[in-house]
């Protein structure tokens, strides 16, 4: 039965799922996007109100009154996901709708939708990178001021509480690091850079495991059970690597580590926080630049890498569902494109990290 042969004047697929593709053909309606948009809106408004800068501006207070609505927002998002998954679960690729509008004729509608979504994502991350470039080029470097005996390029003595730019890489990949466990000849890797370096490799490997899941789902030389098992394993491997990424991110931001010869304090322990207005930068000898306002440097770093981290978390949620579907034999050559379209999102997350890592961690 072709997609065109479906008579949607008589069949009315449920907008709530589950969906009977054989009987009803492709669904033309779903409440899932509206429900999830509503949930994300409620969550973001409430979550933002949970953190309130305190009167002395040296930290945050927590407004517990916003917590219930934050949880309600998350619950609405989850309900939207359930509706989406109920509709998708039985999809076997029989009725893959094609786009008809210029210039996307005959391209899978879901593929076009994913690319349009990714283009909007490009705009989000571009605005964050533009902010970074502007601040990085427009604010004088703290290390330059320190090297110039605390005199700014305008010839004015640096005043405590002023902002100058101290990049996250100073704490992560600079000589500031106290421990250099991994060395090769005269070249060493600061321990503080280890989580970021591992994360970079983890994301690249995870991009490859998604590709392998897709290639395996296309294979016709395997029986259905064996193919499903392999696809599930590749998706689970991707999810494990993504979880490793977020775990190391939490370690890097909040916890730090002290394992055997490896020692790296967290960024928070180092004082690289969005409310630190009195950081003391130590130079060679007894030189010191006191009272640095780190708010802009830290905010730019945490907002950009945090936004990326949220995308990784979104990928983990999607991978959890897809692994479950694969475990139940839900993917084969006829609907392997579902993995491909998720892969587009996942490769995009990797793509952003390719830019974030050198810009924020290395330089």
């Amino acid at each position: 039965m072709s997609y065109d042969a479906h008579d949607d004047h008589h069949d009315h697929p449920s907008a709530w799922g589950p969906h009977d593709w054989e009987k009803n053909g492709a669904p033309h309606n779903s409440w899932a996007p509206l429900i999830m948009s509503l949930g994300v809106g409620v969550f973001l408004f409430s979550f933002a109100a949970t953190f309130v800068m305190n009167a002395t501006r040296n930290g945050f207070d927590y407004d517990a009154g916003s917590l219930p609505m934050t949880i309600v927002g998350l619950a609405i998002v989850f309900a939207g996901l359930v509706v989406w998954w109920r509709q998708d679960y039985s999809f076997d690729g029989t009725y893959e709708p094609k786009a008809t509008g210029v210039p996307f004729q005959n391209i899978d509608m879901r593929k076009v939708g994913m690319w349009i979504f990714l283009w909007s994502e490009m705009m989000i991350f571009s605005s964050l990178f533009t902010t970074y470039i502007r601040y990085r080029l427009g604010i004088e470097s703290c290390t330059s001021i320190l090297a110039n005996d605390n005199i700014t390029s305008a010839g004015i003595p640096f005043s405590p509480g002023e902002a100058c730019w101290l990049p996250a890489s100073y704490f992560i990949a600079g000589s500031h690091s106290e421990s250099w466990t991994l060395t090769l000849g005269s070249i060493g890797l600061p321990d503080t850079l280890v989580p970021g370096a591992i994360n970079t490799f983890a994301l690249i490997v995870s991009s490859f495991t998604v590709v392998m899941a897709l290639k395996t789902a296309h294979r016709t030389d395997l029986d259905h059970i064996e193919r499903s098992r392999k696809v599930r394993n590749y998706l689970l491997a991707t999810m494990a690597l993504a979880t490793l990424f977020l775990t190391l991110k939490i370690v890097e931001w909040f916890i730090g580590f002290n394992i055997g010869p490896f020692y790296a304090p967290s960024l928070m322990d180092d004082g690289f926080t969005i409310h630190n207005e009195a950081y003391a930068l130590h130079g060679e000898g007894h030189t010191i630049l006191e009272g640095i306002n780190l708010r802009l440097s830290a905010s730019t770093f945490f907002v950009t890498t945090g936004t990326h981290g949220v995308h990784v978390f979104g990928g983990i949620v999607g991978l959890a569902y897809m692994s479950w579907k694969a475990h139940n034999g839900g993917y084969g050559p006829s609907n392997a494109v579902s993995i491909e379209y998720f892969g587009l999102y996942w490769h995009f997350v990797d793509l952003v990290w390719v830019l974030v890592f050198p810009a924020f961690y290395l330089y």
Binding site: P103, I107, W119, S120, M122, I133, R134, S207, L351, P358
Partner: protein, 111 residues
């Protein structure tokens, strides 16, 4: 789905390229921290490798090359890219006062 380059699977080659170039990036920064190479050299290495890795992921893993619909998807992607270029040039690179010349309504109290 199956594509080859020099008789090898192009996805495997791309994966190997990404791993090697990432190792070079990390090594370059480690060398710079110990002042074995200059900062300018590090920037050059990071930007060059970043561009190659970006293209490797976009063209191979995201199929913006080698597929029947690659050209139209690539061309359409230029639409947001036009805005991005405008944003980077006119805000990121050419508004030196933007960090400290925001109007009052755009600043938190006390700034």
């Amino acid at each position: 789905m199956s594509h080859t380059l020099f008789g090898k699977d192009v996805y495997n080659l791309n994966f190997a390229m990404l791993m090697i170039f990432t190792a070079i990036e990390v090594g370059a920064v480690a060398a710079a921290v110990q002042e074995l190479i200059s900062n300018e050299m590090v920037i050059f290495i990071l930007v060059s490798i970043g561009v190659v890795k970006f293209l490797g992921i976009a063209c191979v893993f995201m199929h913006l090359r080698m597929e029947a619909d690659s050209n139209i998807l690539t061309l359409t992607a230029l639409f947001p890219v036009a805005f991005i270029i405008l944003m980077v040039i006119f805000i990121g690179l050419t508004s030196p006062n933007s960090p400290d010349a925001l109007p009052d309504w755009c600043r938190p109290p006390g700034y």
